[in-house]
Assembly symmetry: C2
Homo-oligomer: 672 residues x 2
């Protein structure tokens, strides 16, 4: 069992990256000049390690070409941004959802035939109302957490670990879906404009995700400027589209070109359940509203106020775009259709053929990719927080070459690719899994705030801030109800997957936590103890040397054993009858004084008997720590390893289970 | 790079199996009682190792159920058999080829239309003549090598390494084809009788191969009795069929039921090339004739005479069966057809509907499986000889639980399954690859004999045994010509694969040999040197201890280092700026006197800087052998390993390249 680990997982050492991909080649450094500079006696600074081997070089070049030169830890940059930029950075996720929300409402309603269409508007209104509530709730959160109110942290602070993990699980699953849905919707926008691409939508989606993964491994700074163009372009062009639509409805604007649409016959009755399901699908419009509350630290001073204003502005824009699209698609009787999005249909109705149509599709696609990109920032960040609190493997803490949280980014990339392939990059197929996480998180976050406000009054004689408390309470109740609605109405359509996944995630995180904590406990030591610890071992040591025959490698091991130990024993397992005699023979010839123990192995087993005899000697010799010295030779070429039986390594693994046994590999380097 | 190996590959130690699958569980032994018994001071005998873990137990039970209880090396059984049994044991391969040889001749001729049929008989005669020559040649071989004249050995002895390897390569490829062809033909015999099975022929063939593999891992003793029934049943029933056929032709026996056959129109002219190709296909009838010469040691005394008589008998039977089938298929105008074998057609013509028909098919199938089984004995044996001479990986020498050469058996099984799948278990598709190897081997073997006889006269004043020499010379020339014919006529039909494969094999074997020899050279040491070797290292040692933080694991390592070394240095790589200070801080608090070196790693690399600083200290401290003591903790559950970064192991691998560096893992066992 490869139980290998330095004490790195003790609480103190928060920092054994070592997942650094370059590491696998550093051995070659040995041959080149040493990449460390002495700054003061006993203190060095490491340079970048340049591998010497051809493979190493190529690999490093490849990585540099792909994700750029490594950055020093000190180079981590932090940018403060104003309201306008912040709106661009934090609202792409929320705004982009208008590209599919309406469509998903219609997709459900259409099941009950065109009659059901009438309900799209009340449902739309309900969602706008819901949006308002959530926005006002989060404005309270911002006031309470001016340094960033990430749902996980807020919930953990106020409701405790378990709810915190529930929030975390909900968010993690949700980020994966944000990427999958946004990318799929983005691709849908492209394929609507260029139907010939439709057959390749899965490939396109996967390509986009790979691109985002690499881009984020490069460590895309949230350089707001990049984000501003697509976001504002989207707001403006969709806004214009809506105004155009209203105008043409009022008979002022251009004549709409009604587009042919085949309406499939009603497949289910118009039940309350169906309407609720339509609402649940539409509620995906709210995904990403929390982003601003999470990102407060990025705002210019006065952070809180700026953030709250931006949030309000974002809410208004979102409400306008969403209700506009919904209103128009109703009046132009647009029908959802796998091959063309509602937005595309709307655009064609109003500005068919004109270049503006393509502008609309382009900006829609780009803001959707931007939305996916924000999840690539959020997922690894949450992963980092969870790893820091020891709920996820420590690997999630490591910062790669570019200071990005590589593990989180790669994990997210892999998961979303799988999901997109599994659901054929179809938004319709993904939506049922979506929003469960979002609303769970909303609910938990709002509930935490209620607790927060209540507690804030405790102790001191201050009065409870009822105003905020009530707003958050309403938020909590409403989002709670919506969560239930979402779960119930979407359950059979796929939500169950998420419902099962989240508890599994929580269980895993708890198990991981238990392990890390127990390890830390077991390894912790006080400076007091430490001082005495070193004197624990007696200055006398025992060594056992397993050998297969008398040769330079085994003799080197024996010689080494004599240096480090006062009591050396050689052990040989005879898997063929004669080898035992042969060895004893040579032992005598060479007149070796080291005792030799021979085990005949009639069943030709090697490791079993070897471990057994070592165990036996260990018990006899006693001593707190016995050393097994394993002769090992190191071939020159990798393929040569296939020609040897790696006995040293397998023995090493076999012995790993015996306590108080130090294992030493004494290498004998072969020439070519 | 996992350069792990005890000195096991030195010439002496012919015996590091260790591939014993049980090994992977032996670590659990430690907890149970020790499976070794002391027979005299310093000498033990190992019992069978019974794993303690649930997984171990299940795995072992599974293996026992499948291949039986392990056998002691001493239990290896050797059976001496008489002529009658020997015929059964050694001729199944040769005789069984009559089941397809004729068919393959016809398959080629039919391309030139029914007219070409006339040539089936002269071709048949030519092949019988060829058979006679080969039989008489091998009778000479037996005389010369009463202890078994395996082609590889005979060729290596007389012509040298390179030709020996050519023979080996030819045989190895040939054994694979023997299995593939025989199994496919056997399945064809079944599907001819039960056409409904035809769609499943590939599955059936694969199943049969798996069965043979397992059976041979069990170590099927060549318990002749098992072999006698099918072999003799085949001889008798096909013999009877032939007599019946001749009788009915003479108008004495039953009326033949001529069977409908669709003759496809001629697709190619009747050229000499085509006739030669037909001959080449038919020559597969000779495959396996060498078996008796290889197996002489298994005969009762007088071995040589018995073997030669058996070979002659076998030759006569083979000639009779082959020419009989050929003669009749010509006269009954049987046409080859993928769905029904010629033998089946012949049987139906003569005894349609009668149970005897099914008997014929059954015995045909069973002797063919038997033939495949002989290859399962030959391939691993040849593999063993090659590994012994260090031309194949040592793994081919290991004897598994049941004393069978597991590696060879599994390799053969895997290769043939691939081949059968690739060629859809179609004999017609496999034949072109066949016989190339056989005749190359024949030619080399006969040529070797010529050299052998010539040399046998050298030195002493004895006269050259011209009689034998001439026979073998004729054999060599004829088989040589046939080899060329086979290669040329079948080249484009698939023979080229084998032609390319064999040199590749030889190249590989030579590379392997070079490696093993050089390793042995480098490790060999005289008892004289050995005596002094031990005094090489000075009784002073230096240790370096990489630590991530001050905890029980790292302190245990430090304590150990102090025991084994006079000069200890601790090293820490700070992948996060603060860890360095923190550690120095604690170091002072604990008042540790061991010097601590800190390397700041601004690029968050761990191994690179660590290796660099170790290298640096190594250069400074000098000393023939420096020990790097790696603190390591051992978690309880396997999954926990995923939560740690295996730094100890990766460091171990990284350091493996630096010479004169002993690496010690000091374990710290965690509780649950």
């Amino acid at each position: 069992m490869e139980a290998g680990e330095t004490s790195s997982s003790s609480r103190k050492s928060t920092s054994i990256p070592g997942t650094h991909p370059g590491d696998r080649f550093i051995r070659h450094v040995a041959s080149s000049d040493l990449p460390i500079r002495e700054v003061e006696p006993g203190r060095f600074i490491a340079e970048l390690v340049e591998p010497a081997s051809v493979w190493g070089k190529t690999w490093v070049r490849l990585r540099r070409a792909l994700i750029g030169r490594p950055l020093r830890t000190a180079e981590a940059a932090h940018e403060r941004i104003g309201k306008a930029k912040a709106l661009a950075v934090f609202s792409s996720d929320a705004l982009s959802s208008t590209a599919y929300a309406t469509e998903e409402i219609l997709r459900v309603l259409v099941l009950a035939g065109t009659a059901a269409y009438a309900f799209v508007q009340p449902i739309g209104l309900a969602i706008v109302l819901l949006l308002a509530i959530v926005v006002f709730s989060y404005r309270q959160t911002i006031r309470a957490y001016p340094h960033g109110g990430g749902t996980y942290i807020v919930t953990k602070d106020n409701l405790g670990i378990a709810p915190g993990l529930l929030a975390a699980g909900a968010l993690l699953s949700d980020y994966v879906l944000t990427v999958a849905v946004s990318i799929s919707a983005g691709v849908a926008a492209m394929t609507s404009a260029f139907p010939s691409l439709y057959p390749y939508r899965v490939e396109l989606a996967v390509a986009a995700i790979v691109l985002l993964t690499v881009a984020n491994l490069r460590g895309v700074r949230e350089s707001a400027t990049i984000f501003m163009l697509p976001t504002y372009a989207f707001i403006v062009s969709i806004g214009a589209l809506i105004l155009l639509g209203l105008a043409s409805l009022a008979g002022l604007g251009p004549q709409p070109h009604p587009i042919h649409r085949e309406v499939s016959p009603p497949s289910s009755p118009l039940t309350l359940f169906l309407i609720l399901r339509a609402f649940a699908s539409g509620s995906t419009a709210l995904t990403g509203v929390e982003a601003i509350a999470d990102g407060v630290p990025a705002f210019k001073e006065p952070q809180a106020d700026n953030a709250r204003t931006t949030l309000l502005a974002m809410g208004l824009i979102l409400a306008f775009l969403f209700s506009g699209i919904t209103f128009l698609s109703y009046h132009f009787r647009l029908a959802p259709n796998e091959r063309e999005t509602i937005v595309s249909q709307l655009a064609r109705t109003l500005v068919d053929g004109s270049p503006f149509y393509y502008v609309v599709q382009a900006v829609t696609a780009s803001i959707l990719f931007l939305a996916a990109n924000t999840a690539f920032a959020d997922f690894p960040r949450l992963g980092y927080f969870l790893a820091r609190d020891r709920f996820l493997p420590r690997q999630f803490r490591f910062q790669g070459d570019r200071l990005a949280f590589s593990t989180g980014i790669l994990t997210l990339g892999a998961l979303t690719i799988l999901l997109v392939i599994a659901r054929h990059a179809s938004v319709a197929a993904l939506i049922p899994l979506y929003a469960v996480g979002v609303f769970t998180a909303f609910t938990l976050s709002q509930t935490s705030m209620v607790v927060h406000w209540w507690r804030s009054a405790q102790g001191e004689l201050r009065r409870v801030p009822w105003h905020s408390l009530v707003i958050n309470a309403i938020g909590a109740v409403v989002t709670g109800i919506v969560t239930v609605v979402v779960i119930v109405t979407k359950f059979t359509h796929g939500a169950w997957i998420v419902i099962l996944l989240i508890p599994a995630l929580i269980g895993m995180m708890l198990a991981i936590h238990r392990h890390y904590v127990s390890v830390a406990e077991q390894l912790r030591i006080s400076s007091e103890e430490a001082r005495h610890w070193l004197r624990l071992l007696p200055r006398r040591s025992v060594a056992i040397v397993p050998i297969a025959s008398l040769n330079r490698a085994s003799l080197t091991a024996l010689a080494y054993a004599r240096v480090i130990a006062d009591d050396v024993t050689a052990v040989h397992v005879a898997t063929e009858p004669e080898t035992g005699q042969t060895l004893q023979q040579r032992w005598r010839e060479a007149g070796l004084t080291i005792p030799l123990v021979i085990v005949d192995s009639p069943y030709r087993e090697l490791l079993g008997p070897l471990v057994a005899v070592i165990e036996k000697l260990h018990r006899e010799k006693g001593g707190p720590l016995i050393t097994v010295v394993i002769p090992e030779f190191v071939p020159v070429h990798w393929w040569e390893r296939l020609l040897h039986t790696q006995t040293a390594w397998r023995l090493r693994r076999a012995l790993a289970q015996i306590p108080d046994l130090a294992i030493t590999m004494v290498p004998y380097h072969l020439r070519d």
